[in-house]
């Protein structure tokens, strides 16, 4: 999977945080105050009650990643920070795309959607909603192909990521286990 993080410019970092009021503000405030650039941020519950997991995509060199990690750790509500880009991982984003469509071109759109293993989840009089999951590159490519029909609305979740193998993201064993696990077989057009 093409991940720009390999060249050290874009990094995927996850943080396990206490699910407390204001934790998002603390994290977001830290990024803006220290001048770090986040291009995406996704938040959701984790496997443990009371803990949420945040995934950030951060732009910058090694220094930025190190500082982001250390500064995040200084927040009392942050339990664990992991730089996923340095480990073999599965990276996904989901998008909903509202595409202009009529009965003449619906088949053509469905064909494209099929190639991307995406789906149509709503059909209206003159629009369809496409749901697609993959890394950013795949979603960008799909949007580009659908653009000629007219993409009226785009809703993207931001990147989430998980280390491969049987161990939890961010543990020492994760890197070792990941090395042995099968690569992602998904084909990105």
């Amino acid at each position: 999977m093409a991940d720009v993080s390999l060249n050290g410019r874009v990094h995927t970092i996850t943080a396990l945080v206490h699910d407390r009021p204001g934790v998002l503000a603390r994290v977001a405030g830290l990024f803006s105050r220290r001048g770090f650039n986040i291009s995406s941020l996704a938040v959701g519950h984790s496997e443990t009650a009371g803990l949420s997991r945040m995934t950030f995509v951060v732009e910058g060199g090694d220094w930025v990643v190190e500082q982001v990690t250390k500064q995040l750790y200084k927040l009392i509500d942050v339990v664990r920070v992991t730089n996923i880009s340095s480990e073999s991982s599965v990276v996904r984003e989901m998008a909903l795309l509202k595409v202009k469509s009529n009965k003449d071109n619906r088949a053509e759109i469905m064909q494209i959607v099929d190639i991307f293993r995406a789906g149509i989840v709503d059909v209206g009089k003159d629009t369809v909603i496409v749901e697609v999951t993959g890394d950013e590159g795949k979603i960008d490519a799909l949007i580009k192909l659908l653009q000629p029909f007219g993409v009226r609305e785009t809703m993207r979740t931001g990147r989430i990521a998980m280390t491969r193998g049987g161990v939890a993201t961010g543990t020492k064993q994760a890197a070792a286990a990941a090395a042995q696990s099968a690569p992602d077989t998904e084909v990105v057009p």
């Binding site: 206490h18 204001g22 503000a25 405030g29 105050r33 250390k70 500064q71 009392i76 339990v79």
Partner: protein, 566 residues
């Protein structure tokens, strides 16, 4: 035990060892104030402005090593705490601020005196809490004190809606704090300590650069042991002053923008810098690319985020300064370094500290006399500006941890309330505030509080009728265009003192300096000396902001050479 929220706060304060707090009441926090009579062991000092409550708590904390406590009401009371919280945050001072908030149901409705206090103080506190349930008070209070005083200390704010203070719940104080996501590293990594010892053994020209962290961890004996055993000269940062006796033969003074010039040349020559509890601040390093070009760096700090933040580190050691130095000193060998010491002696002789131009009353002379009269054993508190730098340069500290100044934030006005707080913490020591006429006027409303409690703070105002350091910047770097830096309407500070019933005197000539200081010191209670110092005097050296030691201006003559900079 069933208590209301206000009683819970007081009960918690007592359990945390608080004996004094500084504050000013208002509607939202009133339930807490009305409960204070039930807790006579909690002494409350009513201030004249919440900013001063915060700085007093800060001065108290720095002088005692305990957690300082400040109290304010919601809205404007809380916003007045912003400057002292930011000051304490920058300088790693343990503080707990307690603010009132509008009742829970009114939050978010722009109620009278509502402000988003936790939002405003988020980046200037180590942590903060909005308490939404009375039953949470004991846990939150114990966490707040724990967070404030452990690891790299800092201010913690607790925002209490009025009805949370009046409601009742079961009070059960936790006997220990368990925060799985907050576990400061105390012991240094054994392998790193070993490598550090190796670097020290290989080094020919090492320097210790010791900062506030050494004072906070109480590493006085350890710094000395390290310095003496491996014969490493000690430079102390602005906030590290007092971590090592100024009288010691290995004591070098301060580095950086207004440090002793010879220190900046020494750093340029050093092949190893051991930073202890300091953060390679820009006022210390100047232009990073030109800082200590020949040196490897060992960086010891309890905050991992400081290590590698500003300078490239050869050996990082995360841990408590006292413990790490203790372990490290065991592994270093006893050596002597006659060549390095001789080289530094030559640098000292070549770049002596300026003691002033000699026109009029020299502020440097005042500080030296103060140092001499108090035998270097007073607690010295300052504001921010020229007077602060002269105090840092010329007072010879013999006692550990006796220097209290706003370093990171550079908060003018700190000199009055912080000195008051320090005097409450150390009633048996002399506390001198070396003040600027600018800073003093920012917070002199606290003289009333000082009188009310007969706090024996002595003020030495180095009065130049100027925002002196700003005037200096204008003269050096803006072609002498003195915009908004001169005061023409300063009051007669002796008359101000009289109005408060405080002993005071003017000093205009150098021969009067000593006697005036002695007289003020002998006063039973506060005293103010208004020193009419030479207004044209500059602080030297002056490394222009963002420049290197090679652009350092060491004397008035050096100004001409720098004309290209403007």
């Amino acid at each position: 035990m069933r208590l209301n929220g206000a009683q819970m706060v007081c009960e918690s304060l007592v359990r945390e060892g608080t004996d004094i707090m500084f504050g000013l009441p208002g509607g939202a926090i009133l339930p807490l104030y009305q409960t204070l009579p039930e807790y006579p062991q909690l002494r409350h000092i009513l201030v004249r402005h919440e900013q001063n409550a915060g700085h007093a708590a800060d001065g108290y904390a720095r002088a005692s090593g305990k957690v300082g406590v400040a109290v304010a009401t919601s809205g404007p009371g809380a916003t007045n705490l912003v400057t002292p919280l930011a000051t304490a945050m920058m300088d790693s001072v343990p503080m707990v601020a307690i603010t009132g908030q509008v009742p829970r149901a009114a939050i978010g409705r722009d109620a009278f005196q509502e402000t988003d206090t936790t939002g405003i103080t988020l980046p200037i506190t180590k942590h903060n809490y909005l308490v939404m349930d009375t039953a949470d008070i004991p846990r939150i209070m114990s966490e707040a004190f724990h967070i404030a005083r452990t690891g790299r200390p800092g201010p913690v704010l607790i925002d209490l809606p009025r009805d949370v203070l009046t409601e009742s719940a079961d009070f059960d104080y936790p006997d220990h704090v368990d925060l799985p996501s907050y576990k400061p590293t105390m012991e240094g990594h054994g392998q790193m300590i070993k490598r550090a010892a190796q670097l020290i053994a290989e080094s020919q020209r090492p320097l210790l650069m010791v900062g506030h962290g050494a004072i906070i961890s109480g590493a006085f004996a350890e710094v000395r042991e390290m310095a003496e055993k491996a014969q490493i000269p000690v430079i102390t940062t602005l906030l590290g002053i007092g971590s090592f006796s100024g009288e010691h033969i290995l004591s070098m003074g301060m580095p950086g923008m207004h440090g002793q010039a010879y220190n900046n040349w020494a750093i340029d020559r050093a092949d190893l810098i051991i930073g202890v509890g300091m953060r390679f601040d820009d006022r210390v390093t100047g232009r990073l690319s030109a800082f200590a070009p020949q040196a490897k760096v060992i960086h010891i700090d309890i905050d991992p985020a400081e290590v590698g933040k500003n300078v490239r580190v050869t050996v990082p050691i995360v841990g408590d300064a006292k413990r790490v130095l203790h372990a490290l000193a065991k592994q270093v060998e006893q050596v002597s370094r006659p060549e390095w010491i001789a080289e530094l002696d030559a640098l000292r002789a070549e770049h002596p500290l300026s003691s002033g131009q000699g026109n009029g009353l020299r502020p440097q002379h005042v500080v030296r006399e103060l140092s001499s009269v108090t035998d270097g054993r007073a607690i010295v508190v300052t504001g921010v500006g020229q007077h602060q730098m002269w105090a840092a340069q010329h007072y010879v500290f013999k006692e550990p941890g006796s220097w209290i100044t706003s370093g990171g934030l550079g908060t003018m006005g700190f000199e009055v309330p912080a000195a008051m707080g320090a005097a409450f913490a150390q009633p048996n020591r002399q506390v001198w505030s070396i003040a600027g006429d600018g800073g003093f006027q920012m917070t002199m409303s606290e003289l009333a509080t000082i009188v009310e409690h007969n706090v024996p703070v002595k003020f030495a105002i180095l009065n130049n009728n100027n925002l002196g350091l700003v005037r200096q910047l204008q003269d050096l770097f803006y072609g002498g265009s003195r915009v908004a830096s001169g005061y023409t309407g300063n009051p007669d500070f002796v008359k101000i003192a009289e109005a408060y019933g405080i002993w005071a005197t003017h000093v205009t000539d150098e021969p009067q300096v000593r006697a005036a200081i002695e007289e003020a010191a002998a006063v039973d209670g506060p005293a103010i000396i208004d020193f009419h110092v030479e207004p044209e005097e500059n602080v030297y050296p002056h490394v222009p902001a963002g420049e290197s030691v090679f652009e350092m201006i060491e004397s008035p003559a050096g100004r001409e050479a720098l004309s290209w900079l403007t």
